[in-house]
Symmetry: C2
Subunit: 201 residues, 2 copies
């Protein structure tokens, strides 16, 4: 029974790869499952067997794209103090997005459409990445005695929310880059002041 | 020369009011300038003389809607300490949006489309309202000796950005209300800890 399952997975990957290439070149507006099936030499019914709707397909492409972006992103592993590490990590992640907008405008536009619906798998995946990153950074600061002791789970979610305006695709699409960089640094300073305050919970 | 100018302003208001009513009932997807002109007993050319595109018209409606929403919103003028006032004000403003989503779903959907482009007049107007509200709240806290002294202009902008995920229409549209309320309270606690910290700048 293994062989057919692997084949189905391979077909799924082939569909994703071709769909992504078509979307990368021409955007989602002119994209159709019919054209995709023709380009793959498949029947549209076969494509629909793997992806029940254009939305599901788009979401899967976004999820793959986000995963690759994450893999490319290297949080600063330096010996810098926690507050500096946090500021550097957030601003680097924002720069990865800004590069993505320049290099893959059509794909990023699709990501923005997807991100408007926070309950989609790709949006949830991105959210959990962000929170995991903040969890590491805050834990590091607490261990080093720089940040106050807090509930890691809820604090990483709150800190992630505080950076939404510089990390969420919707905000990055039409924003002025120098304004974004300024805002990113200011938000990092605000969050760092809170995390070092005895008042933080 | 005065009479014709007043008439033009009146015509502009008539167009806005009729367009808003049509959008409120049926959303933007089925909306057209041709239908609007017919409903007003005008020529489409006459409508276009006042609003050069559907986007300009939609933005003007959003701006009017945001202005009314602001007028309806009363920041807490109580004697509560600054941190509590800030928390109450942000969460009340969020509730105004949530009520708006329930009462005017089509209009709010349009607001979300508009808000995706931060350079539109209605989006800029909303941003300046938010920042003015935070400026008042932070100034009050500094005057009362509760918040540290900061640059009011830049801090109100940073604090506004920190609350984007609970105040920006894009985030409110599909979000879970109880999660939003939790996040709003946590962000307020984080910002209040920062504003009372000697580390804040």
């Amino acid at each position: 029974m293994r062989r057919p399952r692997r084949k189905a997975d391979e077909t799924r990957e082939d569909i994703l790869t071709k769909a992504e290439a078509m979307l990368r070149d021409n955007g989602i507006a002119g994209f159709s499952i019919a054209d995709l099936a023709a380009a793959l030499g498949m029947s549209p019914a076969n494509v629909f067997k793997h992806f029940h709707s254009k939305a599901v397909l788009a979401d899967a492409i976004c999820e793959r794209h986000v995963s690759r972006m994450i893999a490319r992103f290297q949080a600063d592993g330096s010996d810098a103090p926690a507050p500096e590490r946090l500021a550097v990590a957030v601003c680097q992640l924002m720069e990865v997005h800004l590069a993505d907008i320049r290099e893959n405008p059509f794909l990023f536009e699709m990501l923005v459409l997807m991100a408007n619906n926070a309950s989609l798998p790709s949006a949830l995946r991105y959210k959990s990445l962000i929170e995991a990153m903040f969890k590491d950074l805050i834990r590091h600061g607490i261990d080093a005695g720089v940040y106050r002791s807090v509930d890691l789970e809820s604090m990483s979610s709150t800190v992630g929310a505080a950076f939404a305006s510089v990390l969420h695709p919707v905000f990055l699409m039409h924003a002025d880059e120098s304004e974004l960089r300024q805002r990113c640094a200011s938000l990092a300073a605000l969050v760092n002041a809170a995390l070092q305050s005895p008042l933080v919970k």
